[in-house]
Amino acid sequence: MSVKLLKVPTIDFVNKRHWAMIFSAILLVASIISLSVQGLKLGIDFTGGTLIEVGYQQTADLEEIRGKLNEANYQGTNVQYFGTDTEVLIQLEPQRVSSAKLSSSIIHMLGEGIDIRRVEFVGPKVGEELTNDGGLAMLYALIGILIYVAFRFEYRFALGSIAALVHDVIIVLGIFSALQIEFDLTVLAAILAVIGYSLNDTIVVFDRIRENFLSTRKVEPKPIINDALNQTLSRTIMTSLTTLLVLLALFYLGGEVIHSFAGALLIGVVVGTYSSIYVASSMILALGISKADMLPSEKESKEIDSRP
């Protein structure tokens, strides 16, 4: 056969797991420190406030715009170029009196001949609700997944996959906090997608671990897990690569609005791939998975099969 049969790699993942744990621990601690010291740079979706994106014919004069805003006595304003120097993003913290009219008066103040590209106003109450809903969504997604995995596999697998997910979410949030990239609703959506993706990866590995436990006579969990990781390695890499390819397209071509969304997914896919190899399997190993744990489910299914 001329087919190039690449040999299954024999990388000793399992025995290197201590290094991975140290690496993960450093990342996690750094993320948590960054999150608790400087926190996330929350967008107006969560803080409430006003955002105006305007397009100018020529290069916009940011100083002039800032001057006008200062004159009108607005507090907590942020004026910056958005993508190009003809487009300007103006953000305002919630003012003492926050209302949708604010944007109208600012647009009026900026004068004629500008192109209003985007206006967003989020009232303080809505911001609070979106924050709560976002947190809840994350929680419910995790719980739903926990239940499904516990039902399909075993509780140790469920805990292992949740550990990997929490690991991924904290690190992505940590990177957003460290780099002070704006965290808005689309980034939250991206993080939930990362949860889905990372889990996808983890499940594939777990599936293989279970299959190997059942198909071989070996009882030692370490070599079985290591085999599973090696057998699924090329798939893990392939899928990560295709996903990264489309995300890079989205990151570079999708425009400013989708930029941090694509960024969050890019980081998430890399971290998620790493965690499904190291974190999830180390976790089930630490929880003491064994061949015996796999058997009952097989017996049950045979029982069902043998029923008349």
């Binding site: 926050s98 209302s99 944007s103 969504a137 739903g144 689309t186 997608a193 996808n200 071509l253």
Partner: protein, 615 residues
């Protein structure tokens, strides 16, 4: 082995044919159009079509086509010049019960739309437009109900002179009776007549009764306030002339308003949120104005008002007519080139106006502009609602002749103010103040940018994956590519069929699906490769590769599906759009990546003596 039966292949082909068919409408562009619909609930029929056609032909308007479907008339145009000029022509020549709005009409061929085919509906972030979330001030609703019961309670107890005083205290009414007997009698009257009131505080030895509105009645008045506001908003949006607006209740006290394609968002905001009305009152010319201003107290039967300029004026307490009596209003310009509003009153208002103008000829009458506003402010970390009621005199003029139900009001600040007032008077007033608590406006240029960029990133991401897969898995990679292409077509078909709204995050969801959909094929192909190592039976390797990968694929996809369903149920706008395409993509990819790719592989290799696999 590796052979799908004829009917199975036929079924797959049929599915793919359906997908292609329902994805097809999206390749047709759209025409510039004017949409004419009825402002009320009445339907649009042939006679309306004839009326419009008459206007068009008598003014020799150049248009592509006109047709009547789905209760609306669509006139298509070649260019925006004739579209815009025809809109203003129709607005002036048609009566007010028609809504004339600019629209984009998809130019899907007739046979296709007869089959139920339609293009995907684009979200506001792609086509431009405004999204508002409005909150009805429910506290004000309760206060207004208390006022209403206060006004009902007094005449009820006055008949037999039962009470000493009735006071409003917060959300309750405090009645003090004259004697124990009158209290007895009053209690019975209230129980019999006003069943929406409940007695909450009744001490036997005292002459007082505390009344509150029952929770059930409060619930009813809240929901009817919400419904009335939705109706009013619908009227106002109709007045603005928006094609395909969405006005929907959300929860128990919120209303979502989406206006695709609206350019003048400032005006939309002014119109939607305004709780403005006018009142007509006589000027009190007997009492001393200066005295009232100095003491800050108006004499009995009068009230002190101010012009916007700050000039004071004493007006009589009794109202001649209010905004509720107004049946028609239009703006215009009077002889002095000043903006004005033509008012038309109903019978009751007209009668009262006629009597007043007869009796008080050569006296002065004033028009008071009343506006209720509610805003949320943050004070020391607490959210507080502040309500302001402004009452400005906009005009006070001598009654120079008798008139009843048709007259003009002048004294408007600007032509725009006159236009807005006329619109608000026509559309009716809101039954409770509302506040815009969220706004998302996307300008048309950003919308077009978003479409272009979204489309480009789908295309590039897709192409990269195609190349990568073909390089890595050769023939099998090409099969996966066919499956992936079909997956895209199927996603578009499903989105078009269920008319889910496509947003920019939705496009991102499609891009992500493209990347993740090949995962199923990767899993299968890697498995086949593995099987090939342990067996020389190529057919067996293919079939067990598919079989063994199947459960893994299902598990992996179901968990992702759980995450995206959670996203869908918790997400608002942007996130929902992402969750929808992601979920659809996951489901369709299972079909294309497993079933369709297998069918193709079977056609290529199935049942044949194969020496090697190009994988």
């Amino acid at each position: 082995m590796n052979h799908y039966s004829g009917w199975k292949n036929a079924l797959i082909a049929f599915f793919l044919f359906l997908s292609a068919l329902y994805a097809l409408p999206n390749i047709y562009g759209s025409d510039l159009a004017i949409q004419i619909s009825n402002a009320g609930d009445a339907s649009i029929g042939e006679q309306d079509l004839a009326k419009v056609e008459l206007v068009l032909t008598s003014n020799t308007v150049d248009y592509k086509s006109i047709d009547l479907a789905d209760n609306r008339i669509l006139i298509r145009f070649e260019d925006s010049q004739s579209q815009l000029s025809t809109k203003s022509l129709l607005k002036t020549s048609l009566t007010r019960n028609y809504v004339v709005a600019l629209n984009l009409a998809p130019s899907v061929p007739q046979w296709l739309s007869d089959l139920g085919g339609s293009a995907m509906s684009l979200g506001l972030d792609l086509r431009g437009g405004v999204h508002f979330l409005l909150e009805v001030d429910m506290e004000a609703v309760v206060t207004m109900s208390i006022d209403r019961y206060y006004n009902e309670l007094r005449p009820l107890l006055r008949e037999d002179r039962l009470y000493r005083s009735i006071r409003k205290e917060g959300n309750s009414l405090l009645v003090t009776f004259k004697s124990k007997e009158s209290k007895q009698q009053g209690r019975k009257l209230i129980k019999d007549e006003l069943f929406d009131l409940q007695i909450v505080d009744d001490i036997e030895s005292e002459l007082q009764l505390r009344l509150e509105i029952t929770p059930a009645a409060i619930k009813v008045s809240k929901s009817s306030a919400l419904k009335q506001n939705i109706t009013t908003l619908r009227n106002r949006v109709n007045e603005l002339g928006v094609a395909e607006p969405i006005i929907q209740q959300q929860g128990t006290e919120r209303i979502v308003v989406q206006l695709p394609g609206v350019q003048d968002t400032a005006r939309a905001k002014e119109i939607l949120g305004a709780v403005a009305t006018i009142e007509f009152r006589l000027v009190d010319e007997k009492n001393d104005l200066q005295l009232a201003v100095n003491s800050g107290k108006a004499p009995a039967g009068s009230k002190l008002y101010y012009f916007k300029s700050g000039r004071p004026l004493l007006l009589k307490s009794s109202v001649i007519a209010t905004g509720e009596n107004i049946t028609g209003a239009s703006s215009g310009i009077d002889q002095n080139n000043a903006p004005m509003v033509n008012i038309q009153l109903d019978n009751a208002g007209g009668r009262s106006m006629l009597e007043t103008t007869k009796e008080f000829l050569n006296h002065r009458m004033a028009v008071v502009y009343i506006e209720n506003k509610v805003e949320t402010i943050v004070e020391n970390g607490e959210m507080v609602k502040i309500r302001t009621k402004t009452q400005d005199v906009i005009n006070a003029a001598t009654i120079q002749g008798t008139f009843s139900n048709r007259f003009q009001v002048t004294g408007m600040e600007s032509a725009r103010a006159a236009r807005n007032l006329a619109l608000l008077l026509r559309a009716g007033s809101l039954s409770a103040p509302i506040e815009i608590i969220e706004e998302r406006t996307i300008g048309p240029s950003l919308g077009a940018d978003n479409i272009a960029k979204g489309f480009l990133s789908v295309l590039v991401g897709f192409a990269l994956v195609l190349v990568f897969m073909a390089w890595r898995y050769r023939v099998f990679g090409l099969v996966a590519n066919v499956a992936l292409t079909l997956n895209l077509v199927t996603i578009v078909a499903v989105l078009s069929l269920i008319q889910a709204t496509l947003t920019l995050p939705g496009i991102a969801g499609i891009v992500l699906t493209v990347g993740m959909a090949v995962d199923a094929n990767v899993l299968i192909f890697e498995r086949i490769k593995e099987e090939l190592k342990s067996t020389n039976n190529i057919q067996k390797a293919i079939s067990s590769g598919y079989e063994k990968a199947l459960l893994t694929i299902a598990d992996a996809n179901i968990t992702t599906l759980i995450a995206s369903i959670v996203l869908f149920s918790f997400g608002t706008g942007a996130i929902k759009g992402f969750a929808v395409t992601l979920s659809i993509g996951i489901i369709t990819s299972m079909f294309t990546a497993i079933v369709v790719s297998r069918a193709i592989i079977n056609l290529i290799y199935g049942g044949k003596k194969v020496k090697e696999l190009a994988i």
